[in-house]
Symmetry: C2
Subunit: 134 residues, 2 copies
């Protein structure tokens, strides 16, 4: 099992047009698309670069985890997602090493991809998402 | 001018061995090297994946920006560094668009690389480092 790459960095924002004013219009990154992701209760703008993406995430409700994070800490980096080649083996190894997991088994997302979150209490304060392509 | 890729994500830590227990030993990322970077008043561990790196940064003094960030907010993501092909053109465009810069002109780092920081007040809360290879 191994980590293949950083898939994305999620940035939580309260004003997506204001954020795009920097990332897209001033810094010059391409935005491939923006969509409402119902299961995440968010609007997400996708800005790929190299083999990774910056994802700007604006909550559309007050009750999601990302909305609560925004209310408490303000806009900024929310999590790092790394692609792994075998999410089940990775989760098993993390558990064996005493790492605290938010999801002990993967959630199946759009297109059959599998994701799971690792608790920041075990990762030097970083909310880490694991992702395995379908 | 354009953004080429995410060069690294810097994670500030108070315990580098504890952080490596997750990133290297449990998650299975390779650590290429760890070194004391005198100009940053930090010890830095480098963990490349794909075309990017996770950098674990432990302050060695109390007075650096990263040390103050750690004291105030605890361990976690500190900044994102993006590689650009023309840092002078990027800085000029950011300034023209009204983006607040920490460094209006690049600093020359090790090996002749040029870096500059953008203020998080203009970037939806993310401290962004710009980097141009020598």
């Amino acid at each position: 099992m191994s980590v293949k790459r950083i898939d994305h960095i999620a940035v939580v924002v309260d004003d997506i047009e204001g954020a795009l004013n920097f990332w897209r219009d001033a810094l010059g990154m391409d935005m491939t698309h923006m969509e409402e992701v119902a299961e995440q209760q968010s609007i997400v703008a996708f800005l790929p670069t190299g083999g990774s993406e910056i994802e700007l995430v604006k909550p559309t409700t007050d009750s999601s985890g990302v909305a609560k994070y925004l209310a408490k800490r303000g806009p900024g980096m929310h999590h790092i997602c790394v692609e792994v080649d075998d999410i089940h083996a990775t989760l098993a190894q993390l558990k064996a090493k005493g790492i605290k997991l938010i999801n002990e088994t993967p959630t199946i997302g759009a297109g059959g991809k599998q994701i799971a979150f690792v608790h920041p209490g075990s990762t030097s304060g970083v909310l880490v998402e694991l992702y395995q392509a379908a």
